[in-house]
Symmetry: C2
């Protein structure tokens, strides 16, 4: 891995694989002149899809692929040697700096955890999501790697989310909030209140804002939103559902009569910009934070541009000081018995 970054890609995972993953990999290497890619999957198919041969994209053949209906336990038993497994194994073995897959989420989390193992001090890894806000973008975690989180886990989520936001959003000192109902300190579960106290009174060098509520996420009140995986997943999907519904409604409104159709044509510049702002491809990619290597999950239904975006996210994270920063902060709370041993 002497010069430049190497990315391991599961080319067979996702709704429109391998077409989208190959096209996405080509977009990625075009945008990053020093990057190289190891493309895992069916050699014949992948070679036929490459628009031109380049030594910066190396195909690594395997017949095996993880299907979307496979349960995590099945993926662990039967997934060895699959394109997903091999991509993650590349990271473990040092053949790549990071891996990307648009495949089965449960399988990806299970295989990533087994192969890459947890970072020292982390109880449980957490899945991130990027959330578009009025101020730009925020990071929400956990959005589904775990069902629950105790106070110490929430504190480690805060530490990881903060370093992650710095790495991928380029914010020098990201602010952190814990998702709660009501901003009064008496509200919320015990776990949340305890995490709040730990973060408020810690000597960690974190910009902890306090509790936030659901509507603060889109406002961009904080850069990092800390919550348990159940709540985070529901909030993320509820928000996605509202955005989709409103998109449908706006389209209906702008085609409801001949005048509004003409109006929509005139307004097309502004509307295009809006569509670009809200394009899920631009915020594609979640990361299972807290592992011994970078494993990025792309949305399964993404397009080539979105997949390339997930590759860039993986590259940015691999190129950052994320691990050192997290290790530094985990070490501080370990001395207080909060981090995992």
């Amino acid at each position: 891995m002497a010069d430049g970054l190497i990315l391991a890609i599961d080319a067979m995972g996702g709704d429109d694989a391998p077409d989208v993953t190959v096209a996405g990999a080509e977009l990625f290497v075009a945008a990053r002149p020093n990057a190289r890619v190891r493309l895992h999957g069916d050699e014949t198919k992948l070679a036929s899809l490459l628009s031109k041969a380049t030594e910066r994209i190396e195909i690594v053949h395997t017949d095996l692929a993880i299907t979307s209906d496979m349960k995590p336990s099945q993926a662990l038993r039967r997934g060895k040697g699959s394109s997903m497994w091999n991509a993650i194994e590349d990271v473990k073995a040092g053949r790549a700096h990071a891996s990307v897959s648009a495949g089965n989420t449960g399988a990806l989390m299970a295989i990533s955890m087994l192969v890459l193992r947890k970072m020292d001090g982390v109880h449980r890894p957490a899945m991130t999501a990027a959330w578009p806000t009025l101020r730009g973008r925020s990071v929400v975690l956990d959005v589904g790697a775990n069902l629950e989180a105790d106070a110490a886990q929430l504190v480690t989520f805060a530490i990881m989310g903060e370093a992650y936001a710095r790495a991928i959003l380029g914010i020098e000192k990201p602010t952190i909030g814990i998702l709660n109902i009501g901003s009064e300190e008496m509200k919320g579960h015990d776990e949340i209140r305890e995490a709040h106290e730990l973060l408020r009174n810690s000597d960690l060098d974190l910009d902890y804002h306090g509790f936030i509520e659901g509507d603060d996420i889109s406002t961009g009140t904080v850069d990092v939103i800390v919550t348990d995986g159940f709540t985070g997943n529901v909030a993320l999907k509820a928000g996605e559902g509202v955005a989709r519904m409103l998109g449908t409604r706006v389209r209906e409104a702008l085609t409801s009569n001949i005048l509004s159709k003409v109006g929509a044509v005139l307004a097309i510049g502004g509307l295009k910009q809006l569509r670009e702002q809200m394009n899920p491809s631009n915020v594609n990619g979640g990361v299972l934070l807290g592992l011994g290597g970078v494993s990025v999950k792309s949305h399964g239904g993404t397009d080539a541009k979105g997949f390339a975006r997930a590759c860039e996210l993986a590259a940015d994270l691999a190129n950052s000081h994320f691990r050192e920063e997290v290790a530094h902060n985990l070490n501080k709370i370990r001395q207080k018995g909060i981090a995992a041993e």
Copy 2:
């Protein structure tokens, strides 16, 4: 209460009270020729705000009002004789069929529970919210009356939500879903899985659909979404935040240049319709279900039209068979030891 419905209104609660509450009460009685209102609050102020004297609006004087910063415990200790308390007391004493307040939510829940008490068989009351969907509207509960809910409580939420959706949405046989992450049966907390089994195997005459995910809410996959108060509150507010952010973005897009401004003027018919569809006033009003009487919570920042909408909701619910239907179903599960004794 011989002829027509009587509504008790806390005229002093809400951001713009009593202006909005008085105007809303007048809109309500104008729309419901047989309804009467008991308006609780400062007699001089209220009388001066009434556009014309009518015997259908009776002012019931009190000096005391619950403030927005009062904690529930303070409201219970010091709130007796306040406009909010007196409105709820009207329902208890049979002087009104239902009460409405736009005031302090925590205080309203606490006073409602103390004064109206729980219905037989209900462990904990649940707060509802109306959620606009692609198909119309759905009911989400609990959105914050409780932090947690065990399986038996979730089953009673399903029973109450179903009867409520019939009463206020006019759906003959509302469908019910439990909010979860992933639709596979193995996922989710124990409480959720247990409630799922109870509803699936019950002899209740309910149209139980199964698990749904966050994005299904806006799709309108089911009419009633059952969840615990923490998750429901976060989902509701996260969705509100996304809707507000997108509203801002659409406005920006339609005013970003001169062409798009002209376009927006031409499209104004369709956009007006959209704004009307999405107007929060049209879905205003949450109800604390499971009490011995109807207590409706209006959004604190609503306008007169929205407050009138909350009054109509209260009237519809008071006029329905909600209580009998819930009692009937609770009785069935009580025989199996699921309902509260």
